[in-house]
């Protein structure tokens, strides 16, 4: 029913790599006329090991760029515009027509009434050119390591997260487990930075973050366990494939796709979503970064691009969380392909899998944004109350329901 635009990213990049290495090989062979030892180097370059290695690096770069450049800017734009409209104002409006040089400076036309897509780039450049201040008594090594830890653990999530059945860096059999584990490394970074900055505010923020994130990891994993009872596998591509059919209810086929959110996993879906909102540190659960009491919470002492990193990676975590929820519960990238064009012999589906996946991810993110900007933040002890006394029993109940349905059939 659904077809990907990029059937296999690895093969695609391998073609590219083979071409480039072929050219480099030709140059080296040509040069090895006068210098014979270079021939061995040329042979080495053409070997499978080197080609695969370089392809892997290129694939990783492509996916990282796809996530951090295109998706990050888009999701930040979506959030800023959406919450501005909720607040009854226009929102960011700096676009390419605001640039002051030709060909973008139109005379007589308003410069600040564009879509606003370039505003985030401008904010990033602003953060780049700020001074990086380190507090004097801070634990310097830990202070500098923790943004790197947060950034790298979040990017590791995207190593195992597929964007369609062909667009991924690696397809692990334990993919979901790896994603959840990488996701949960960030609390360590937050705690380290809260302590290392030598500031009472950040310490309180870091401890709150640690308490909250650790206590919400438990219902998250329990909900996934409830799901795994059904799917029997942790491979994200297989999980999505299992949801690519219609529901069969007492012998009749309903025109509703068999997403796990619609079936007996509904409770698990709710628990997982709430736990993910807490893991993303969004309002109503953003008490660690609570602007009101703690200035900026655990990120208070960061300035310049370090602040930019931890700030932007909050959105990347939102992206990863939305992607994970849509893979596990909302059918991933399943969706009808209405037509398939043939471009030069290559079949191009009109609504490919990537499109359906991005649609789900962005709609889910928009829902999270809407939720964030309509509700006040919940106090830390109330958050922990919800996590321990409500979510964990519900998730255990979800496991029970899933096991029951599995036994029934």
């Amino acid at each position: 029913m659904s077809a990907p635009l990029i059937p296999n990213l690895f093969d695609l990049c391998k073609v590219l790599t083979a071409a480039i290495i072929g050219i480099v090989q030709q140059i080296i062979y040509a040069l090895s006329g006068p210098v014979p030892p270079l021939r061995g180097l040329g042979d080495l370059l053409g070997s499978d090991l080197v080609i695969n290695l370089v392809t892997l690096l290129i694939v990783a770069t492509v996916v990282v760029l796809w996530v951090t450049v295109i998706n990050l800017f888009t999701i930040m734009w979506v959030e800023r515009k959406l919450y501005s409209r909720i607040q009854d104002r226009y929102g960011i409006m700096i676009s390419i027509w605001s640039l002051p040089f030709w060909p973008f400076n139109r005379t007589g036309r308003p410069t600040h009434k564009g879509t606003g897509y370039l505003q985030n780039l401008a904010d990033g450049v602003k953060l780049l050119q700020k001074e990086n201040i380190t507090p004097r008594n801070a634990d310097s090594a830990m202070f500098h390591i923790s943004p790197v830890l947060i950034a790298s653990s979040t990017l590791m999530v995207f190593a195992a997260l597929p964007w369609s059945s062909g667009f991924y860096v690696a397809n692990l059999e334990l993919g979901v487990l790896f994603i959840l584990a990488a996701f949960s490394l960030a609390p360590l970074g937050i705690l380290i930075s809260g302590w290392a900055a030598n500031n009472k505010y950040t310490l309180v923020g870091g401890l709150r973050a640690a308490a909250m994130l650790l206590s919400y990891s438990i219902p998250m994993i329990l909900a996934v366990i409830a799901l795994v009872v059904f799917t029997g596998t942790l491979d994200p591509i297989l999980i999505v494939q299992q949801q690519d059919r219609l529901i069969v209810l007492f012998g009749t086929t309903l025109p509703i796709p068999a997403w796990y959110a619609f079936g007996p996993q509904f409770l698990g879906f709710l628990v997982f979503t709430v736990a993910m909102i807490a893991e993303m540190e969004r309002v109503p659960f953003d008490i660690p970064e609570a602007e009101a009491e703690l200035v900026e919470g655990w990120t208070t002492e960061y300035s310049g691009m370090r602040f930019g990193i931890v700030f932007a990676f909050k959105w990347l975590r939102m992206l990863a969380a939305s992607a994970l929820i849509s893979i596990l519960y909302l059918g991933g990238w399943g969706g009808p392909v209405f037509a398939t064009l043939s471009v030069g012999g290559v079949p191009v589906p009109i609504f490919p899998e990537e499109f359906w996946f991005l649609l789900r991810v962005y709609l889910l993110s928009a829902f999270f944004v809407w939720l964030s900007w309509s509700i006040p933040r919940v106090r830390i002890d109330q958050i922990l109350n919800i996590g321990w006394r409500r979510l964990i029993p519900y998730s255990l109940l979800a496991i029970l329901i899933a096991a029951g349905f599995r036994v029934i059939g």
């Binding site: 607040q87 009101a292 009491e293 509700i375 106090r379």
Partner: protein
């Protein structure tokens, strides 16, 4: 972990002004609190002894810059009591209208800052959008949005513009529609908001009266005291309005203070509409005040934040001999340790926001 003192302020995004609150925390619970004020002390009482009576109105405007007409009006009332003159009737009605407009603007500013305190940034934008309506009305009436220099000793500065009643009615209709339909969705009906504000920052009525808390904070404890009813000034006796008191008894928490101030918004709208019907259509709005005066005059009014009291002593010169300003927030600040003790650190901003601190009047 041992207890340690945390400084909330003086530079803090959400303490609304320049003051410092030291709280002693044990983990997350507050065991003690100590406010430190005086960062904005400008020496008002000393300066006002060298300015003529009328020129002091410029200063009293800036005492609480968010609700300036109420403070200048209190000062003018005190000076009039000392001089023994009385504003003509139309002037009194105009004063009532300007006071209530300013009260609505001040309460909306409070609400706009209370939302973000709890994490609800949408509240900021919505409330400021409505406040623009009233600032426009105040600007039409007095010429400025803030620090208007509008009340005069003996009346007001100028008459209301033509058609002001219709303009007010239109703005108030629009405003009441928003207050009844949109705002409860993010405030009253939001379970998280109620979770954050109910039960935090309790103070009993006896404690509140003993520590000198007045105004909406006292009415939230169940005590039915509104100075516009208890000691009426201007033409408040002829207006039919209900002081908003939290009737369920025993509360005195942040939610009660929020509800009392919220309902006062609607009540003030009713007062303005009644004033337009009851006031004389023409008439003098100002009486010439003598230049020199001797004696002492004292006036207390219901400011947006509580009981604002001015005590003016004149000794025959054209300047006051002594002016004493009693600020409601100054007295409430003495009660804040009691409000804060026993609550969590995350509640500090919820409680202090609901108490509505304005540092200008606190520090004089």
């Amino acid at each position: 972990m041992p207890e340690f003192w945390i400084n909330m302020g003086p530079q803090h995004p959400m303490t609304h002004g320049l003051w410092n609150m030291k709280v002693k925390v044990d983990g997350e619970t507050i065991t003690d609190a100590k406010p430190e004020i005086g960062y904005l002390h400008r020496g008002y009482e000393k300066i006002m002894e060298v300015r003529e009576f009328q020129k002091n109105v410029v200063l009293t405007d800036r005492l609480c810059y968010v609700s300036s007409i109420t403070w200048s009006h209190a000062y003018c009332l005190a000076v009039e009591k000392m001089m023994g003159i009385e504003t003509p009737e139309r002037g009194q009605w105009i004063r009532v209208i300007s006071l209530e407009l300013q009260r609505i603007a001040s309460h909306l500013m409070w609400l706009a800052s209370y939302g973000p305190d709890l994490g609800l940034l949408t509240g900021l934008l919505w409330c400021l959008r409505e406040r623009e309506l009233f600032l426009d009305l105040i600007q039409l009436m007095s010429g400025a949005r803030m620090n208007q220099n509008f009340p005069r000793v003996g009346g007001v500065r100028n008459d209301l513009p033509e058609n002001f009643g219709a303009m007010c009615r239109r703005s108030i209709e629009h405003f009441l529609e928003k207050v009844d339909n949109e705002y409860p969705k993010i405030f009253h009906e939001s379970k998280v908001f109620r979770m954050r504000t109910e039960g935090v920052g309790r103070i009993s009525a006896a404690d509140a009266i003993n520590w000198g808390v007045t105004g909406p904070n006292l009415r939230a404890c169940g005590v039915n005291v509104d100075l516009r009813r208890l000691d009426p000034y201007e033409t408040y006796e002829e207006i039919d309005f209900e002081p908003q008191v939290w009737h369920d008894g025993g509360a005195g928490d942040s939610y009660a203070r929020f509800v009392v101030r919220y309902n006062e918004l609607k009540e003030s709208c009713g007062i303005i509409l009644q004033a337009f019907e009851k006031m004389p259509k023409t008439g003098p709005y100002r009486v010439k005040s003598p230049r020199r005066a001797e004696g002492e005059g004292y006036a207390k009014t219901e400011d947006s934040r509580g009981e604002a009291l001015f005590y003016v002593i004149g000794d025959g010169d054209d300047r006051p001999y002594r002016v004493k300003i009693r600020s409601p927030v100054f007295c409430t600040m003495a009660a804040t340790p009691m409000l804060l003790r026993g609550n969590k650190l995350a509640d500090v901003v919820a409680i202090l926001g609901s108490v509505d601190v304005c540092v200008g009047e606190m520090d004089k």
